[in-house]
Symmetry: C2
Subunit: 304 residues, 2 copies
């Protein structure tokens, strides 16, 4: 059954006349007559009784009319929704994040994205970095937020956010008495590294300049885990400012005082060949955030 025929039928039923309906439909009367005939033939049912002044619905025709309105509305609703999905006004966006990145500006970013895309379901996937790259390639996620990102084929990334470093100390550590920590203070301090070494990579220039050789006491899966280990007394950790959102027992945070600026980055990564509307909208969000928030965030940290 053709939906166009259904519409022809609806108009004919409304006009109670094939000629008038044809006029309204901007076709001539004979084709419409045959459309009605073939619809009747297809259903094996007489839809109209032909009178001298026009046509009149049979009971079966009246039954079809009821359904026809619903079906037609159903289809229009569907096409509308599909268009919305295609233009990124509705649907779903899958985002990869990992560990401390989540504590960073992601919540704010997603909130501003959701504000302009109320019908898009946002799905966060908390996955290690390497698997995010795979997921990006396979299209299981559209964009990934990570700190340090090496080069991958067909993947590009842009800087979202930079934040200063803090030292996470166990309360019992004598250094906790200081208001800020210098790199030299950490020379004999057992440090907790994490899997991706985002911090150490970010600090490599600083470390080199000071000939600083970190004493790695423990390895943690991510920076949140590292901070939990600090809480447990396993050592000290260098963490980005956003970790300060964590409230853990026996952990104090002190700014890392450095002679050269040392910031840790957050990037977002996506496939070069992906140009879906949803991705572009998300990147627009990120860039708007960069414009609005990056300069002050880099200069004067807002969190305490």
């Amino acid at each position: 059954m053709d939906v166009r025929r259904l519409k022809y039928f609806i108009v004919t039923a409304e006009e109670r006349s094939i000629s008038r309906a044809a006029e309204r439909l901007h076709i001539t009367q004979p084709p419409l007559t045959r459309h009605i005939q073939s619809l009747e033939e297809e259903l094996g049912v007489l839809l109209f009784t032909r009178t001298s002044w026009g046509v009149e619905l049979t009971q079966a025709g009246a039954a079809l009319l009821k359904h026809a309105h619903n079906i037609s509305a159903h289809i229009e609703l569907a096409t509308e929704q599909i268009r919305r999905v295609a233009t990124g006004q509705a649907g779903r966006i899958d985002i990869g994040v990992f560990g401390s990145a989540m504590l960073s500006i992601i919540p704010k970013l997603l909130r501003s994205f959701s504000a302009t895309h109320p019908d898009v379901k946002v799905v966060l996937h908390n996955t290690p970095k390497e698997r995010q790259i795979g997921a990006l390639h396979q299209g299981r996620i559209l964009v990934a937020f990570d700190r340090y990102l090496p080069e991958f084929p067909n993947i590009t990334s842009e800087l979202v956010y930079r934040e200063p470093l803090y030292v996470a100390l166990n309360q019992s550590n004598p250094l906790a008495q200081q208001t800020e920590i210098k790199l030299d203070d950490l020379r004999n301090e057992p440090l907790i590294d994490e899997q991706d070494q985002s911090v150490f990579i970010a600090c490599r220039t600083l470390f080199k300049r000071h000939s600083f050789e970190p004493i790695v006491a423990q390895k943690a899966g991510d920076l949140i885990a590292a901070t939990i280990m600090v809480s447990g007394g396993f050592g000290t950790a260098l963490v980005p400012e956003s970790i300060l959102n964590l409230q853990l027992p026996n952990v104090v945070f002190r700014p890392l005082a450095t002679d050269v600026e040392c910031l840790i980055d957050l990037h977002c990564a996506y496939r070069k060949d992906e140009d879906s509307r949803l991705l572009n909208d998300m990147l627009d969000c990120v860039r708007a955030y960069q414009r609005d928030q990056l300069p002050p965030a880099a200069g004067t940290p807002t969190a305490a």
Copy 2:
């Protein structure tokens, strides 16, 4: 949007391959490719991403797939119901009745009709005889049940039921003491006639034979109204047996003893040119009723 295209799309989405889908659809691959293309063009939306091993749904395509199943099911449901309406298995039947005819076998008849047509809504219209004829002509009712029916153009009728006559007497009437009433007993009795004179017409042979001239004291709209007037003491009425179903205060019913059989008929009337399935089914019901009930009813009345 053509529903055939929707089915093509569904199969393609299921097979994740245009070639395989084409095979399943018993067409070759190029036409299917173009169907998908024109569907995409019509919606202004990319439905599949083409890969080296086949095709994969986009988000918009997935959205369409969900709706497509519903729409397709909706249409099949509708066609099924329309066919049921057309074959008289569902829909609605409008029936005209008037006054005492309703008290007759109509309830039984409708019950047996409903038993075989559970999805047909039965609508009873209580309308005077003349308006029933108009309603029949206009198709507002499909069949009418009436007692005496003169000839009308394009209308035919058949006998449904015959029943004996009773005399409805007010309790205070001396004749109420008799177990049965003879026609001669009514010679000086004020009688209540009704609009259509169904009873007087049914009795005209009997009246003539006995040179009986009824004394018409009152006129009532129908036989039920006549019986109510008997209850009010306005006179005596000749009524068909089915009126005995009425329980009215101060009214007693006595059989009318006659030397020749005198029965009053119930007919059903319908348009000669109407041959809808519903009408024929209803007539089948009536005829089955005639076969089963008419002989005993005519010979030995069952009601007391």
